[in-house]
């Protein structure tokens, strides 16, 4: 019984994590992709390519060295010409999902 509950709990966690990832993908698509999708026609990607010059991927979801907190910090404070985003644009729940989506390859 305990095993079943553990499996069920694990399944719920997995489902929840998958849901969060799915929501995060939508948030990324809506708010991040116009600047951070692959291709230099996207200013964020172009800027990171100019910064890292091939040493590191210019596509932020390839990164494996960022924390969810870093993603949240960037979204709420902005950097360079990237502005910060308000909670009416990206809610805290959406930001959590987004952060988990960005770091999903860790």
């Amino acid at each position: 019984m305990k095993t079943l509950l553990t499996l069920l709990a694990a399944s719920l966690v997995a489902t929840s994590a998958q849901a969060a990832t799915a929501d995060g993908a939508q948030v990324f698509e809506k708010w991040c992709a116009p600047c951070h999708a692959p291709g230099i026609e996207h200013p964020g990607t172009h800027a990171l390519e100019a910064k890292y010059k091939g040493v590191k991927s210019s596509f932020i979801t390839d990164w494996t060295d960022v924390t969810p907190e870093y993603v949240k910090l960037m979204v709420r404070t902005g950097i360079s010409v990237m502005p910060h985003f308000r909670k009416t644009e990206i809610s805290d729940a959406e930001l959590n999902a987004l952060a988990n989506y960005v770091i999903r390859k860790h």
């Binding site: 116009p34 200013p43 172009h46 010409v81 502005p83």
Partner: protein, 551 residues
């Protein structure tokens, strides 16, 4: 937590409690962390005592909630400042003109209320972005195009109310002009519909603009006298084809007939798309293509000899430079013209266009793109997306780090005076502003600057002033920007739109007959917003009780 000036802490607390009752605690923002999200991301005064900052923010979801918020603001005399999507970057962003105002954030009002395919119109709320509307139209199989500015995350309503411009056909590019019908919450909380919308059960609200009686829509632009909660727009039916061509001319003075003939062919609707001016010789790309040059996907070749001549030229001219251009067949000026319509029609329009420009000796012509529409979405990034009614954020490569700009800026402030649509005015604006910018130490000119052609009867001589991370540099640019406004005014030029930090300077230029226009603005303000709760200070229109204090 900051309290609005002149409001007691107890009144402010009562107002915030009332706002919470109206929209729910989740949508009233009072913590420093949350209120900081309403700062202007491109403020040249970031972190300085004069930075314009909100005291709180409230985010309604419905028109009724906006009305209730406005009534509470009147009750407690709370200054409120509406924003739509808050992405008016370079023109003030989401920060209020009057520090301590409560921002009314309309982003949650993001419904596309009606798309009338037959009438080719739409009715939207202020939180709807160009991306939202575009995606909705494509998802529903609509054959309508939007007209959008470069930043696709902007509000359809907000951009129109702030009189923004776009890139498709002339009659859609002026976003305020292409609106049809508004719904406005007045500063006393009453609801108004303009045009035919004033008729209960109106059936032509998005079909006929002015209704009957004085047409008042204009006084609700730039957001001083009401909060726009719905706005109708005419949309462009998807054209069958797109043709983009260039007319190149060889000599410096050819710019004058080039613009004169452009004005004719555009206002005769022979050319019906966005025109754009460039200079292959001076290395100045067309406005609509500037990001392609920054990205390095398109570039004018410049030889070492050409660069040396350019460095010695005066505002893009020297006899030696012109001789070099003629000898090497490098056009001094290049006009990009676009056409929308059936293929056989745009081809005929292009033929007629060439006939008109043949008055200029040595003019040459080239077809750049000839496309059946719609463009394959996978290939749209080969083009300047807004010319196809497709929103993007590509223009943010301006100021961002690129191989051509290793030191990214923190943002930019758009200096946007309106100048006459003549070649002579382009020369004069370059002469006046480049000399001033040099004196003021502002990095605005390389060789020569071309205006943007959003509207058919005027140019915007638009220049991006960088915002840096250094406060002293920003102060220098800010003072320089104000001086440029003043110099522009001395030449009969004025800004069409500007950030709050420059609004007083800009409105000072509009001073005919002892500031008669400004005095009328104040008269309207006192009549329509007697408690002075709405958008205090925006475009230097202050409510009576703040006028002396503000000045």
């Amino acid at each position: 937590m900051r309290t609005p000036p002149g409001v007691s802490p107890s009144d402010f607390a009562a107002a915030l409690a009332a706002f919470t009752q109206i929209v729910g605690a989740e949508w009233v923002f009072t913590s420093d962390e949350d209120v900081a999200l309403y700062r202007d991301a491109y403020s040249p005064l970031a972190g300085q005592p004069e930075e314009r900052l909100a005291s709180a923010a409230v985010a309604p979801e419905t028109t009724q909630q906006v009305q209730a918020i406005v009534r509470v603001a009147n009750q407690y005399r709370i200054p409120i400042y509406p924003i739509s999507t808050g992405k008016n970057l370079g023109y003030g962003g989401s920060a209020p003109a009057y520090s301590g105002s409560v921002v009314v954030d309309l982003k949650r009002m993001n419904r596309i209320l009606e798309v009338d395919e037959a009438n080719m119109s739409v009715l939207v709320e202020p939180g709807v972005s160009y991306f939202d509307l575009y995606n909705h139209l494509r998802k529903t199989g609509s054959k309508l195009w939007i007209d959008c500015p470069d930043p696709g995350w902007g509000s359809v309503v907000g951009n129109a109310v702030d009189r923004g411009g776009g890139y498709t056909m002339a009659n859609y590019r002026n976003h305020f002009d292409s609106h049809c019908g508004m719904e406005i919450v007045l500063p006393n909380g009453e609801l108004l519909r303009t045009g035919m919308g004033a008729i209960p059960g109106a059936r032509t609200w998005q079909q006929y603009k002015s209704g009957c009686g004085p047409w008042v829509d204009g006084i609700f632009s730039q957001s001083n006298l009401g909060i726009v909660t719905k706005m109708g727009f005419w949309l462009m039916p998807e054209p069958e084809a797109y043709l983009r061509c260039t007319v190149s001319v060889p000599r410096y003075k050819d710019l004058i007939p080039l613009v004169d003939i452009l004005n004719h062919v555009e206002n005769a609707r022979i050319v019906n798309g966005f025109p754009d001016l460039a200079s292959p010789l001076l290395g100045y790309p067309p406005t609509g293509q500037v990001q392609l040059f920054i990205e390095g996907t398109s570039a004018y070749a410049t030889t070492a000899q050409q660069k040396a001549l350019l460095a010695q030229a005066d505002q893009g001219y020297s006899p030696e430079l012109e001789a070099y251009a003629l000898a090497n067949k490098i056009p001094y000026w290049e006009l990009w013209v676009t056409f929308y319509g059936p293929m056989e029609v745009v081809e005929a329009q292009w033929k007629a266009t060439q006939r008109h420009f043949s008055q200029i000796p040595g003019a040459t012509y080239k077809i750049v793109d000839q496309l059946k529409l719609p463009v394959d979405p996978a290939k749209i990034s080969d083009y300047h997306e807004p010319e196809f009614g497709v929103p993007s954020l590509r223009a943010f490569s301006i100021g961002a780090r690129t191989p051509y700009n290793p030191t990214p800026s923190k943002g930019h402030m758009w200096f946007s005076p309106i100048i006459p649509r003549t070649g002579e005015a382009i020369f004069e604006a370059n002469r006046v502003f480049s000399a001033a910018a040099k004196d003021l130490g502002m990095p605005l000119f390389q060789t020569f600057s071309m205006p943007a052609c959003f509207w058919e009867r005027s140019f915007i001589f638009i220049l991006a002033t960088p915002v840096t991370t250094d406060a002293a540099t920003n102060r220098k640019y800010l003072a320089g920007f104000k001086k440029l406004i003043e110099i522009g005014g001395q030449h009969g030029w004025g800004e069409y739109r500007t950030a709050p930090v420059f609004q007083e300077s800009v409105m000072d230029v509009y001073s005919f007959n002892n500031h008669a226009l400004h005095r009328l603005h104040e008269t309207l303000k006192d009549a329509i917003d007697p408690n002075g709760i709405l958008s205090a200070g925006r475009y230097n229109i202050w409510p009576r009780h703040l006028r002396k204090k503000a000045q």
